[in-house]
């Protein structure tokens, strides 16, 4: 399903405190399930979401290396937590705190991914807006491709090093 990316607007949607977005994808990131909160906030119909790549929600303000980190981690069978700015069908954006875990089949192989998104803390949004902006800037300056990824990742690692924490600890503690 080749969705035409909506044009982003400055309109923000804010999750309710107890909103609980759930979605599932197959190994390629194709959506196989989304709950009603997901359908509601993304603005897509269930039928539009099912079979679509999860990255139809990807906002252009997000650095690409974040998704690389995300995929590298869950493909290695580990969970990842990340603050993500998502793009709704109507062009508005909404911030989530995403937790993505691999799903395993009976033989213990990764069979898909399970993602829960919650309302992020306002302070965390502020922090990551700044970090992502700098990373995105680094990616643009590097001109894309591997160099952009490297520059952006180096910036993230430098930030973590300055704070003296691991990525997980930082994301969960911010």
């Amino acid at each position: 399903m080749s969705a035409v990316r909506p044009t982003p607007t400055q309109q923000e949607k804010v999750l309710n405190d107890e909103d609980f977005i759930v979605s599932k994808t197959d190994l390629r990131g194709i959506i196989t399930y989304g709950n009603r909160v997901f359908i509601g906030i993304s603005g897509y119909e269930e039928s539009e979401l099912l079979g679509a790549p999860h990255n139809i929600l990807r906002h252009p303000d997000m650095p690409r290396v974040v998704f690389k980190l995300l995929w590298d981690t869950i493909q290695a069978g580990r969970e990842i937590n990340a603050y993500v700015k998502n793009l709704a069908k109507d062009g508005s954006f909404y911030w989530v705190f995403a937790n993505i875990t691999p799903a395993f089949d009976e033989r213990g192989a990764v069979s898909g991914y399970y993602s829960v998104r919650r309302k992020p803390k306002a302070a965390a949004i502020e922090t990551f807006t700044g970090i992502y902006r700098a990373m995105l800037e680094a990616e643009r300056r590097a001109g894309g491709g591997q160099a952009a990824m490297k520059a952006s990742q180096a910036l993230l690692e430098q930030t973590l090093q300055e704070k003296g924490v691991s990525y997980d600890e930082f994301v969960l503690g911010v």
């Binding site: 609980f20 759930v22 399930y33 009603r36 269930e46 799903a103 829960v116 600890e169």
Partner: protein, 484 residues
């Protein structure tokens, strides 16, 4: 009919209703005859019936899907969801409610697993995220977080204890090593001290024996000086007598000279007398010859006595020198005797000090022996009952160095009569006994049995207390033997 499932029952009831309707229509046709309205109505009713049955079928299919997901979930597979839910369908709400339930349950399990898996690796910052979970799910996750916090606490404690144990182990191993170095040093020093003590004893005894010899020499020398003194006196007397003899010889020589002159005068007178004086002249000549002889004899005596005087003068000088030398020797040897006396005394003092140092050295050694013995007892907790440490800690109080020393060795000889000696045996036996008792408690349960651990600690404490008493008794013995 009650045995039939709901779906089948609805189908059956619908079928019966349809048959009744067909029967009713048939009777209606028969009574009133068929007309256009009736046919249209009947056709519509049949269509409605078919639609109703189709709807029923769809509900059944949806219910079957819901049931299948629920059965999967009951079987522990929470992954499945119902998708493609039609808006407005009779089962829409039920399907979403089931999805929501499964989302809650699956998220609950994933959060629980994530929190515990991280906590197990010590990453206790990864708490279960409760946001979005409801009611019992949320309460349970909150409880999980309390457990994770408790795990973090106990992990910190375990880490700390592990570090303490490792450092303790390191220190214990090195302590025994260090103590063994000191032990070896003290053993060597004890042997050296024994040699020094023996040398000191020999020196003191020889000095004492030599002091008596020197005093005998001083007495002999005094006798020699006395003899020289009396010899000197006698020689002086002889010298004085030889002067007297010289004077007597002078008198004899003068008498002989005068006799010679008289004989000469007599010979002249005899010649004057002629023949009558011839006999007298002979006598006068004889007298003159006699006086000449006398004079010669006196001169040779005088010469002899002269050389005799020279000899006695020399003898007197020599005797004077001898006396001076003997006097100097006497004062030198008297001083030497005094020095030797002092030397003998200091040899005795140093023997006492060496013996005291030897005793102190030995008590230090047995103290270290006991440190090592206790450490071996402690190390058994780590190293186990089959270890070299355990073997070393099984020595009893008769066989250890201290036991051998005070029961049958030098200790009994040197200290046996002292009051403090009697204070040693009992606490010493208790040191060994309590360490053995502690080791005896180390059965297969001790690591998990707190009561047993208490007993082990108590036994070691008793050993430490007894050990303190042993140290006191040893110090007391040394003080009692040598003074403060």
């Amino acid at each position: 009919m009650t045995n039939l499932s709901l779906g089948s029952r609805i189908h059956l009831l619908a079928g019966v209703a349809f048959l009744l309707y067909v029967a009713f229509a048939f009777l209606g046709f028969r009574a009133a005859g068929a007309n256009g309205w009736m046919i249209t109505l009947m056709t519509l009713s049949v269509v409605v019936f078919i639609l109703m049955l189709y709807t029923l079928h769809r509900i059944q299919v949806a219910l079957a899907r819901i049931t299948a997901r629920m059965e999967e979930a009951a079987g522990g597979n929470l992954a499945g969801r119902i998708t493609g839910i039609r808006k407005g369908a009779a089962t829409e709400a039920a399907a979403w409610a089931l999805n929501d339930l499964l989302d809650q349950v699956e998220a609950y399990f994933r959060e629980t697993n994530a929190a515990f898996e991280h906590a197990q690796k010590g990453l206790t910052f990864r708490k279960a995220m409760t946001s979005g979970l409801h009611g019992a799910f949320r309460q349970s996750l909150e409880r999980v977080n309390v457990s994770v916090e408790a795990m973090a606490d106990s992990q910190r404690l375990v880490q700390k204890e592990r570090l303490l144990a490792r450092v303790g182990e390191l220190s214990a191993v090195n302590l025994v090593k260090d103590l063994k170095t000191i032990q070896d040093f003290l053993v060597a020093q004890n042997q050296d001290m024994r040699v020094v003590a023996n040398l000191s004893r020999e020196t003191a005894e020889e000095a004492e024996a030599s002091t008596a010899g020197i005093q005998a020499i001083v007495a002999d020398l005094n006798r020699v000086i006395d003899l020289i003194d009396s010899t000197h006196g006698q020689i002086t007397q002889i010298h004085e007598k030889s002067s007297e003899i010289q004077q007597i010889i002078q008198v004899i020589t003068e008498v002989a000279d005068k006799t010679n002159l008289l004989a000469l005068n007599a010979a002249i007178e005899a010649a004057h007398a002629g023949e009558a004086g011839k006999g007298f002249a002979v006598v006068a000549e004889e007298v003159r010859t006699l006086s000449e002889n006398t004079k010669d004899a006196a001169a040779s005596i005088a010469a002899s006595i002269g050389s005799f005087g020279l000899a006695t003068t020399r003898m007197m000088n020599d005797a004077g020198h001898m006396k001076e030398i003997a006097d100097t020797s006497r004062s030198a040897i008297t001083e030497f005797a005094g020095q030797f006396q002092r030397f003998s005394e200091s040899a005795r003092t140093s023997l006492a000090q060496v013996t005291r140092a030897q005793d102190k050295g030995f008590t230090s050694l047995v103290k270290v022996d006991h440190f090592v013995f206790k450490q071996n007892g402690y190390r058994t907790l780590q190293a186990g009952l089959d270890s070299a440490e355990a073997k070393a800690a099984r020595t009893d109080h008769h066989q250890c160095r201290l036991g051998l020393w005070y029961e049958q060795g030098e200790g009994k000889k040197a200290f046996g009569q002292l009051a403090c000696y009697d204070r040693l045996a009992l606490p010493h036996a208790r040191v060994h006994g309590n360490v053995h008792a502690a080791m005896g408690l180390l059965n297969e349960r001790w690591e998990s049995d707190p009561a047993l651990q208490e007993d082990v600690v108590a036994a070691f404490q008793a050993a430490e207390q007894a050990s303190d008493e042993v140290m006191d008794a040893l110090d007391c013995m040394v003080t009692e033997r040598h003074g403060g």
